[in-house]
């Protein structure tokens, strides 16, 4: 066990810090959900990142990455959030589909999709959930019918984050007549293909952050299938493992939020609920514990270990810590907390706390509801009966 960064790791941090200091936009970008302009500003940032070689540092060099290990990924993320760099508009692609492509993709698929993903040329949405298949994902009904070298996709997908403006989606489709975990395939399709209708859905604050996708005889080449036909469940679970387990929510995000919360508390501590101090400390400690845990997981994976049920413990922990952290911030803001950033008398950071709070509300629901994660922990980690 060695909890010191090597000189090479320190030099890497310095390099990242220097590059970000020179390139991170001085003004925050408009958010990527509210307007096409904001979305495209984030796409431009992805291009800048990629031009600097920072699109996805863990990917192989051949696909636009740097081939770096997970400790360096953590260092990169720590510097990225520390610098206040823009949120990753292509997170479904780079964090979820990307690692799955690297694991399951054909050489042609990797060569085609990964560089375009790293460059932000193709921004991805996820098309898993359906109106009748949320927590029970194996209940998906959308179909892929083989027709020569093509598939014909039909069905109704929902809760696709960023699909309003995204270019491509990856979805779970079943062979007609198949049931549950069998007969599923993971298929990639362009969102501007004939037969795809994208219907925005407003989040509870009115922003169109996700969409319903109606697929009406959408023809895509069979070469767009990722992994073997009928093996989609196993392929998706590998995506789900990365999503819950490691990449989607890097610890730095919460460490920076916790540091901001401490700062908010320091500025207002004379007038806040006495319970807030304990909650502020808990938020800081939880962010710290999450970081330490991910360092331990990263070290284990680098030594050849595989990701396991800690994907579920991680997901519960970060989603609950994020929610608690933002609820604490609102309690410190007190009566001001209900103001939006548009209020003339609102403090400068109020919209950020409000957005963070609204976002954190979704954490225990998406990427596998926390109730499902608790079932997984009980059954797969503790060995309790199904």
């Amino acid at each position: 066990m060695d909890l010191n960064y090597s000189p090479a790791e320190q030099a890497f941090r310095a390099e990242v810090r220097q590059w970000l200091a020179a390139h991170v936009p001085a003004q925050p970008l408009p958010d990527f959900d509210s307007s096409r302009e904001g979305f495209e500003a984030h796409r431009a940032w992805e291009r800048t990142l990629n031009a600097g070689g920072w699109g996805m540092v863990t990917w192989p060099v051949d696909y636009g990455g740097r081939g770096l290990d997970l400790i360096r990924w953590l260092i990169f993320e720590e510097e990225y959030y520390r610098a206040g760099a823009p949120l990753r508009v292509n997170q479904n692609g780079i964090f979820l589909l990307g690692p799955t492509l690297i694991e399951y993709g054909t050489p042609e698929q990797k060569a085609h999709f990964l560089p375009a993903m790293a460059a932000g040329d193709e921004i991805w949405a996820q098309a898993w959930s359906e109106p009748g298949a949320g927590s029970d994902l194996a209940g998906v009904r959308a179909t892929a019918v083989r027709d020569g070298d093509d598939y014909i996709l039909s069905g109704h997908k929902i809760w696709s984050s960023r699909a309003v403006h995204a270019d491509w989606a990856f979805g779970l489709f079943r062979e007609p007549g198949s049931e549950r975990h069998k007969g599923l395939s993971l298929i990639l399709f362009p969102l501007d293909a004939a037969g795809v209708t994208v219907q925005p859905i407003k989040r509870l604050d009115g922003k169109p952050v996700f969409a319903e996708l109606f697929l009406d005889d959408v023809r895509v080449p069979a070469a767009n299938r990722l992994g073997e036909e009928g093996q989609g469940w196993a392929v998706c679970m590998s995506t789900a493992g990365f999503e819950r387990g490691l990449m989607l929510r890097s610890p730095a995000r919460f460490q920076v939020a916790a540091a901001k919360l401490v700062d908010l508390y320091r500025r207002r501590q004379g007038s806040v609920d006495p319970l807030a101090q304990a909650a502020v400390m808990q938020a800081w400690m939880d962010a710290d514990a999450y970081a330490l845990s991910i360092y331990a997981t990263a070290s284990r994976l680098m030594a050849g270990g595989a990701i396991g049920p800690e994907t579920s413990t991680n997901k519960i922990f970060w989603s609950e810590l994020d929610l608690d952290l933002h609820r604490t911030a609102l309690s410190i803001l007190g009566a001001e907390a209900e103001l939006t950033g548009a209020a003339p008398d609102a403090s400068a950071d109020i919209q950020d706390w409000l957005d963070g709070y609204v976002f954190s509300l979704a954490g225990p629901i998406y990427a596998g509801a926390n109730e499902i994660q608790r079932n997984i922990i009980a059954e797969r980690m503790l060995g309790m009966p199904r």
């Binding site: 066990m1 941090r13 510097e79 520390r82 608790r374 503790l382 309790m384």
Partner: protein
């Protein structure tokens, strides 16, 4: 950067865990309790024969010269077994204090124990069976023979915690050190209490899982019900996120951040042990409220250790001191010196 246990560390944890699984079962605990003896002589002899009292003692003094990580792993195993004997306080706190003071370790490594009176704790644990006591008098530490003090038993709800108030008179001849020893003792006490809490939390979950598979209601094992699963999954999450804090706190060299992390470890492990023992009582139902099931040994140890070596309020205040004054952020998971000069210059 490599946050993994070394193979030898894993082997040590496994070996101690196995020895305690063999010698410190629920039946062993009950037998000791009925005997009224302070410790199980056969088990203690085995612990001494394995060299565990000298875990942290320098090799030149006959010890193993191991560090806090190894001692924390041993403490996790002791917590898991609800070990009655004072191995953790003796090997993890008293022996390093004696070694730092240059005292002779011969007796302390060959079966004798030394109890510790620290101002953070109101009473001294296991004082009656100790050969000597390390006692604080203001900033001074004294090493006092057991027969030079008067002990009054203060019964604890934990049947294996033997607490005493100590009446003694400091003399210059018994003084062996000052407040540096006491500071180090407090940090080690809190760290290894956290490690024991972590071990006992896991044991509580394990007992409840086993019971939930066995106990049938409504025609099926109660462990198949989500309400039962979720109690234990919630406790397991707390354990999973206390463990790396305990291990990091043990592995870090002394620094203000390391001290904060020890307090964090104590708080996180206390919360995990509370959640796990309470969930275990609930999952066992009425049996969990009985003397017959072993869960109460863990519940009571959790109550005791959660308040020993600094109450939650004490450790929260130490965390508050750090976070309200030190720079915070995503590059501060480990000591800032390790982030490197180059990065700081680049900033």
């Amino acid at each position: 950067m490599d946050f993994r246990l070394a193979e030898e560390q894993e082997m040590l944890a496994e070996m101690v865990g196995q020895m305690l699984a063999d010698t410190c079962t629920g039946a062993d605990l009950r037998r000791l309790h009925d005997s009224g003896e302070p410790r199980d002589a056969v088990r203690w002899d085995q612990i001494v024969a394995m060299g565990l009292p000298g875990t942290m003692a320098p090799e030149r003094d006959g010890g193993s010269g191991l560090g806090q990580v190894e001692m924390a792993l041993i403490a996790i195993a002791c917590g898991h077994a609800a070990l009655p004997e004072p191995l953790v306080e003796h090997a993890g706190i008293a022996v390093p204090m004696l070694a730092a003071a240059g005292a002779d370790l011969g007796n302390a490594l060959s079966g004798g124990t030394v109890a510790i009176g620290h101002s953070v704790n109101p009473f001294v644990a296991d004082a009656d069976a100790a050969d000597a006591l390390l006692l604080a008098d203001g900033d001074a530490v004294h090493l006092v023979p057991r027969d030079a003090v008067t002990l009054v038993r203060q019964p604890s709800i934990d049947p294996f915690r033997r607490l005493f108030s100590v009446d003694w008179t400091p003399a210059s001849a018994t003084r062996i050190g000052g407040d540096a020893l006491l500071d180090a003792a407090l940090d080690r006490g809190a760290l290894f209490a956290a490690a024991q809490l972590l071990g006992l939390a896991q044991r509580a979950v394990d007992l409840a899982v086993a019971y939930s598979k066995d106990r049938q209601q409504f025609g099926k094992p109660i462990g198949s019900f989500q309400a039962v699963k979720h109690h234990l999954a919630t406790a397991q999450v707390k354990i999973e996120f206390a463990r790396p804090v305990v291990l990091a706190a043990a592995a870090m060299p002394a620094s203000p951040l390391a001290r904060t992390r020890i307090s964090h470890a104590k708080l996180a492990a206390t919360a995990a042990a509370e959640a796990a023992t309470h969930a275990a009582v609930q999952v066992h139902g009425a049996m969990g409220y009985s003397w017959e099931v072993d869960v109460h040994f863990l519940l009571k140890r959790s109550l005791a250790l959660g308040q020993a070596w600094g109450t939650p309020a004490f450790h929260r205040a130490r965390v508050a001191d750090h976070i309200m004054s030190a720079p915070l952020g995503s590059d501060r998971t480990f000591d800032v010196a390790s982030v490197g000069e180059a990065a700081r210059e680049a900033a």
